[in-house]
Symmetry: C2
């Protein structure tokens, strides 16, 4: 059995959202599963000196246009959120809490967070919205709220971010297939060919 492919993303990343809508199907076409790994780009940027795309002169304006156009290119709905970027620490911590109960539940929750943010413009930095979406997929609200308050989940997300940086992750989405790294939703065609041919 092949290893799953690793899918690193930040819940505040437009290109991460676009990749999240297609990565599972893409992998499944080649008999592979996907290990979803939310991280915090803020933690990564402290290592790399990166800044959010939309804050870079010239590139920022372009990016806003490219987010929407890339969504149309992939036939995916996209409405740029009124507040952007957002702090996604509660969403990412919640993901790992749910993941330890059920990967399926965590993945459904991740889709809901992304869609709430990039389709419905909801403030997914708000812990009440995060809890609402988690409950929708079967989470126990009180248990999740308690876990978000405790040290274990904070450590868990920190460890995930450190591990990602250790693997070279510097942005979102970042996909690793059998050790080969691919950055950006625009690398999906390369990932597809890599999976089809075992490298090229």
């Amino acid at each position: 059995m092949s290893q799953p492919i690793d899918f690193y993303f930040d819940f505040s990343s437009p290109y991460g959202y676009l990749a999240s809508e297609t990565i599972d199907d893409l992998a499944a076409r080649h008999g592979r599963q996907v290990s979803w790994r939310p991280i915090l780009l803020g933690a990564v940027f402290r290592q790399t000196g990166g800044v959010p795309l939309t804050m870079v002169p010239l590139k920022g304006e372009y990016s806003l246009r490219d987010f929407s156009r890339s969504a149309r290119f992939l036939n995916l709905p996209y409405i740029h959120p009124p507040t952007f970027p957002l702090n996604t620490i509660q969403a990412a911590r919640s993901f790992y809490c749910l993941h330890d109960q059920s990967d399926e539940m965590a993945r459904a929750f991740a889709h809901s967070i992304y869609r709430a943010f990039f389709r419905d413009g909801r403030d997914v930095s708000d812990i009440d919205i995060v809890l609402e979406l988690a409950v929708r997929h079967g989470a126990d609200r009180a248990a999740l709220a308690a876990a978000l308050d405790g040290p274990a989940l904070k450590e868990r997300l920190k460890a995930e971010c450190d591990e990602a940086i250790g693997k070279g992750v510097f942005g979102s989405p970042y996909v690793i297939v059998d050790g080969e790294p691919f950055f950006g939703v625009d690398r999906l065609p390369q990932i597809e060919r890599w999976l089809a041919s075992g490298g090229f």
Copy 2:
């Protein structure tokens, strides 16, 4: 008659080289011509705070792998140059000097510079190599050397860079189709669809 599409690039840009090998054919499939516009990313980066990809922590290592893999993906030869990046000011100035005589000659010269750098590992910052490649395409060596020494060509390249920045150009390759900007060789599929449908 439709306007040509604008193709901005730096002679030291691997993704610019990859785009240069396909942009004319892509445009021609849709009855369009391409206006080639070499610029200096150094001038752009002074405005945007950008740095060469290969110097960014984590991203640098990734980029080296991605240059070669993207070339293989596009079925183009690529050997990462032993000295990288290079100062491409003489090559860019020479392009505009040749361009004023013949666009065809300038374009053939541009291909030669890119291929000398990204296939043969030659030092295209060296004025003698630049002159050799220009002469190969019919340039008058003494006239070009004299022009490279004078103020007009320096001003010309500076004006081209300023104009590019004024249009929002922040990297290489950067293509503008009827006012719509596309950054990166990975946007070629979007450019193709844009040309085919007049937007999407």
